[in-house]
């Protein structure tokens, strides 16, 4: 039996046991995970140094090295994220509703774990801990396939987590890491419908699209955010400036950062010159439509491609629109359905935007940067879904559950 199938079977078997664990056992397990991660800091850092050195021999992608590298501070953050999970309510077992039918059957809809979650991710060892923690708290078993660059770090971490499980009465198969680093194994994992209930890719657009294209296991697609801020004709100009600066520059590399600014033509001349100046002072490159260029002459031309690009960088596309209808149409055409904001003082404009924009999170007078599990008050999350099936927006503990109908009869048969 291949490593993949053997581990998939372990995880599947463990999933039935996990579904029945009490909150106390799960929380004790999370605490033990945190404790042992801190205790084994040196072991984990040693393994991580091996990964970083191996990577650096042949490559020099600084962003990747940064994501790959662990430090005592990062290990402390991993442990902290587990303590946060302990403090969150256990989603499992809640009966969402229960009703009685005319024939006497009582039907309840109960929240239960999904079962087995497969996570395919890049060279970020912290995801190993995040995913294991979220899945344990939500009663799911998890099969992990991390980036090959992080294999030693991940193996060391998984060893520690399994030790925590052993000493907490949690089945060890609750988490398994696929150590094989060949691409065929990953592709095979995407088609293991027999063992895996849902796949969640975590990483860049390339990884996510590979999973969407090849998986037969249902996928929760996360992360692509081509987000817009629309400055309506009646916007408070100072508020609009603050919000676009925040949405673009507070953390450009994340999915809830703004990529395009839309400005109503009735406010463009008053708003754009100063807004562009502030953005440029923050290091943002502006690419604009002709109307933008007519107002601020030295702006580069935005092409059709710019409207659909998630820069994840200090670049902002800017377009002047005739009215709110054009703004909404632009967003619905080019956006990825992630986070969209309007800045307005008009009631009708706010209502129209909230109603007609098709996205996971639609904001009035706030930065798109708030689309995040912690900011929404959900605590931890495994990503932001911008698909419509199952989970839309932050994927937290509740979104890692499904329902089961429980039906209480006393001999009912159907006529």
């Amino acid at each position: 039996m291949s490593e993949l199938i053997e581990k998939a079977k372990n995880v599947k078997a463990a999933s039935y046991l996990l579904a029945n664990l009490s909150s106390t056992v799960k929380n004790d397990g999370l605490a033990k995970m945190a404790e042992l991660l801190l205790e084994n800091e040196e072991l984990i850092l040693t393994a991580n140094r091996k990964d970083v050195e191996n990577y650096q021999i042949k490559n020099n992608n600084k962003a990747l090295i940064d994501r790959l590298t662990l430090t005592p501070k990062r290990i402390k953050e991993m442990a902290d994220s587990l303590y946060t999970l302990i403090s969150l309510p256990d989603p499992i077992g809640e009966v969402l509703s229960m009703w009685k039918r005319p024939n006497g059957l009582t039907i309840g809809q109960k929240r239960v774990p999904i079962g087995v979650i497969g996570i395919i991710y890049e060279a970020r060892p912290n995801v190993t801990v995040d995913a294991a923690g979220l899945c344990l708290k939500s009663g799911n078993a998890v099969l992990l396939k991390g980036g090959s660059e992080a294999i030693h770090s991940n193996s060391a971490i998984i060893g520690v987590l399994k030790e925590a499980f052993r000493s907490s009465g949690i089945p060890e198969g609750a988490v398994e890491l696929i150590e094989s680093t060949n691409r065929e194994t990953t592709l095979e994992m995407m088609k293991l419908n027999q063992y895996i209930d849902v796949l969640i890719p975590r990483g860049g657009a390339g990884l996510i699209q590979t999973v969407v294209q090849h998986a037969t296991v249902p996928v929760i697609e996360t992360g692509t955010g081509n987000c817009h801020v629309y400055v309506c004709e009646d916007a408070d100009i100072e508020m609009a400036e603050n919000i676009i600066v925040n949405a673009k520059t507070s953390r450009p590399a994340v999915c809830n950062a703004a990529e395009t600014l839309l400005v109503d033509e009735r406010i463009a001349e008053r708003f754009l010159p100063h807004a562009i100046e502030i953005l440029r002072n923050k290091g943002v490159e502006i690419r604009g439509c002709e109307k933008v260029q007519a107002i601020v002459s030295d702006v580069t031309t935005a092409t059709e491609e710019d409207w659909s690009t998630e820069y994840l960088d200090y670049i902002l596309a800017v377009k002047v629109v005739r009215n709110i209808d054009e703004a909404i149409a632009h967003i619905n055409q080019y956006g990825t359905g992630h986070s969209e904001a309007i800045i307005t003082s008009g009631y009708d404009h706010s209502q129209k935007f909230l109603q007609e924009v098709d996205a996971a999170a639609v904001y009035v007078n706030a930065s798109t940067r708030f689309t995040d599990g912690a900011e929404f008050g959900f605590g931890a999350e495994i990503g932001i879904s911008n698909q419509k099936l199952h989970a839309r927006g932050p994927v937290g503990l509740k979104e890692l559950t499904t329902v089961k109908y429980i039906i209480f009869g006393n001999g009912q048969i159907r006529e």
Copy 2:
């Protein structure tokens, strides 16, 4: 532009308008659909006769001919199903919860349509009306691909539905039928992530598996039901007999019919001889394990394959199990996660079964046949999902929706 892309674009464009229709407009549209279907009965029946005749020239699958053939009674039933939809509450616009964050942001979770639903189905013209009605009521646009055998019937029905939409202020693109009957078009449709938000295959296991294997659009998998009835050691024998007879024979061809009977060894000798006699009198072929054969000598041997087979026929696999643990393990191994029942008088047994069986619907002392939108009190449904993502159990109006976060700020930016 191909027919597929052109119609997919129409449907996508219509979906934005549909999301904003009031319940009144949608209900008026449903009434008009029903009215015009009845008025155009002759036109539809004529088209249907052409389909049936074309099919009969080369084939003689009686079940297919039965499903394909329309009658005045069936058209009346289609119209009635639309009137049922009018009577159901509109799921759209409900704000499921709304809360305020420490920074003053107010966040609401609002129920909205999914957008565009693609339905791939077999030669059942009634699905054309069911799907169009459910999607309209839930604010979704729908792209239909029906079985080629029903093409004239479906075209006639769609013509009538579009006329109803025109006269009700509903965009005509709210429903489109792909008339091309080649397989490549269907495969292409399964990968139209740009235009289609979810695919729902309706039909046999072969169709569903084809969609699961080839689709990149998220799929709601419906319909495969290898359902079990477990007669516990402490069951009321008469109740158990009534339930297994009902679960197996009231409608063997549907997904919530029982396929395997599990009997505790402590009750097997008292229960099996009479139960098997009744089942056989109803025309059921029994295939049993060795222990069953030891009790009722002329039972055919059940093979490993029998335990995983959805017969959809007058055949029942029967297995004697040591205890409830073996019953639950058997169900979780061989079942398809659809509908599972225990017959017991024991509190602990009922609780254990409800907790540990991993299925969409778990019954105590009732027939598996109740897993159905109408029986659950949801009204209409488009199928029974036995996947865990998004919808599990009957897929009714609520399951054809997603959520959108609406966020009310007054200038908040993220630190």
